[in-house]
């Protein structure tokens, strides 16, 4: 079978092994090399939309989550060029929404913020857009804050692929694309619960379960001390 065939590839000159058919990102994870990502979640089909996992594969910039790894592939993950491209992508996500970290209940546990910390972004290079975005607070236990949404689509895919109920979807196009509950009444009109995978999938503070915020003090939150990806890098035995 092709699928069980072992192949060898290189990330930043580290020799790695993979199974034919794996994406670069999956293979890197297994080899203990962290490639930053936002729209990717291991139990979902890859979205390929955020472009944070962009690597240089044999000299071409590719999204690591959607590009299959190939034998003898040479991958750049930590070059200054790739890091700066990722910084630019993350900075654009910060400026095109309203990401007020000091007053967001996801702060410290937010993947967008954690990747910015890891990439040592001090301030975005682009001007803030301060868009006007809507809040769906119709549901008694859950709300969607469009201000903090990065349109990664993890909730949409989780609703379809894991919860098996298409209760969330995209509306609008291009820069105006938004996440919306599939009911004219908003979240109140759909069958959604805090335990749903689509709720847990949100990497930022856009989908929030009420009465769960600020349970851990500053210093003990997910990314206060350990950079995001540390658990993947820990798999690597040098």
């Amino acid at each position: 079978m092709m699928t069980s065939e072992k192949i060898t590839f290189y990330i930043d000159e580290i020799e790695c092994t993979a199974t034919q058919g794996q994406s670069i990102l999956e293979a890197a994870d297994e080899n203990g090399v962290y490639i930053p990502r936002l729209c990717h979640q291991p139990d979902l089909l890859p979205g390929g939309s955020c472009r944070v996992c962009t690597v240089s594969a044999n000299g071409r910039n590719q999204a690591a989550c959607t590009t299959p790894v190939a034998n003898d592939m040479i991958i750049e993950n930590g070059s200054e060029e790739i890091l700066d491209l990722r910084r630019a992508v993350i900075e654009m996500l910060f400026i095109e929404g309203n990401h007020y970290c000091p007053m967001c209940e996801r702060s410290g546990n937010c993947e967008l913020q954690a990747i910015a910390y890891r990439l040592k972004i001090l301030a975005p290079r682009f001007p803030f857009m301060f868009p006007s975005r809507k809040l769906d607070a119709t549901h008694p236990g859950i709300f969607i804050d469009g201000n903090r949404c990065i349109q990664c689509g993890r909730c949409v895919r989780a609703a379809q692929q894991i919860d098996k109920k298409p209760i969330l979807g995209f509306i609008g196009r291009g820069g105006a694309v938004r996440i919306k509950a599939s009911s004219t009444e908003g979240l109140k009109g759909v069958d959604i619960s805090p335990d749903d995978a689509c709720v847990k999938a949100c990497p930022v503070g856009a989908i929030i379960v009420k009465d769960t915020a600020y349970r851990k003090p500053i210093g003990e939150r997910m990314f206060d001390k350990q950079p995001i990806g540390s658990e993947i890098e820990a798999r690597r035995t040098s």
Partner: protein, 179 residues
């Protein structure tokens, strides 16, 4: 040789970043050896007495006075550092950017639930509010940014020492935080 001078100001901020400057604790004695403080709320000096090496800016620009002070800092300071989320991106005050100014004033001074005999303040002494709150780098050129709400004393210290000694700042993971 005269010591380099340092100036600080709080624009549309809460003085939390200045508290964080003071939070360097006894290192402030070392700072006093390295620099002379010029215009700053810490020493209550209101006017620049000389050109400064470093200006620390807390807060964004929400009114015309903020803009005037920020421009004066740009003129008198060789290096301007935006300190904290408000200076960087407007911060809490910038939450009003999604609401027209008229509506903000009406809600605060006329229609608010606790308002009695409301009146929108219009005294000529009061700085004029801007249409929205602007990050500092949209008004003048900013040289360096220290994120945080407030930035930790250690981050401010590391950055100041790096600036004053001309070395690269050593910023470990724990020091870069946005909250």
């Amino acid at each position: 040789m005269a010591k380099p001078r340092i100036a600080t100001t709080s624009l549309a901020g809460c003085f939390g970043c200045h508290m964080s400057v003071l939070d360097i604790d006894e290192r402030i004695l070392k700072l006093a050896e390295l620099v002379d403080f010029d215009k700053s709320p810490i020493n209550d000096i209101k006017r620049f007495s000389a050109d400064c090496a470093v200006g620390l800016i807390e807060g964004g620009c929400c009114n015309d006075e903020n803009v005037e002070i920020l421009r004066a800092f740009r003129k008198r300071c060789k290096v301007l550092v935006a300190v904290g989320e408000c200076a960087l991106m407007g911060g809490l005050p910038a939450m009003r950017n999604g609401v027209p100014l008229k509506e903000c004033l009406r809600e605060a001074y006329l229609d608010g639930p606790s308002v009695v005999d409301g009146l929108i303040p219009a005294d000529a002494e009061l700085p004029l509010l801007l249409d929205q709150v602007y990050p500092c780098n949209e008004v003048v050129k900013i040289d360096y940014y220290l994120p945080g709400c407030p930035p930790s004393a250690d981050l401010i210290w590391e950055a100041l020492v790096a600036l004053l000694t001309g070395n690269d700042a050593d910023l470990p993971y724990e020091l870069i935080k946005y909250d």
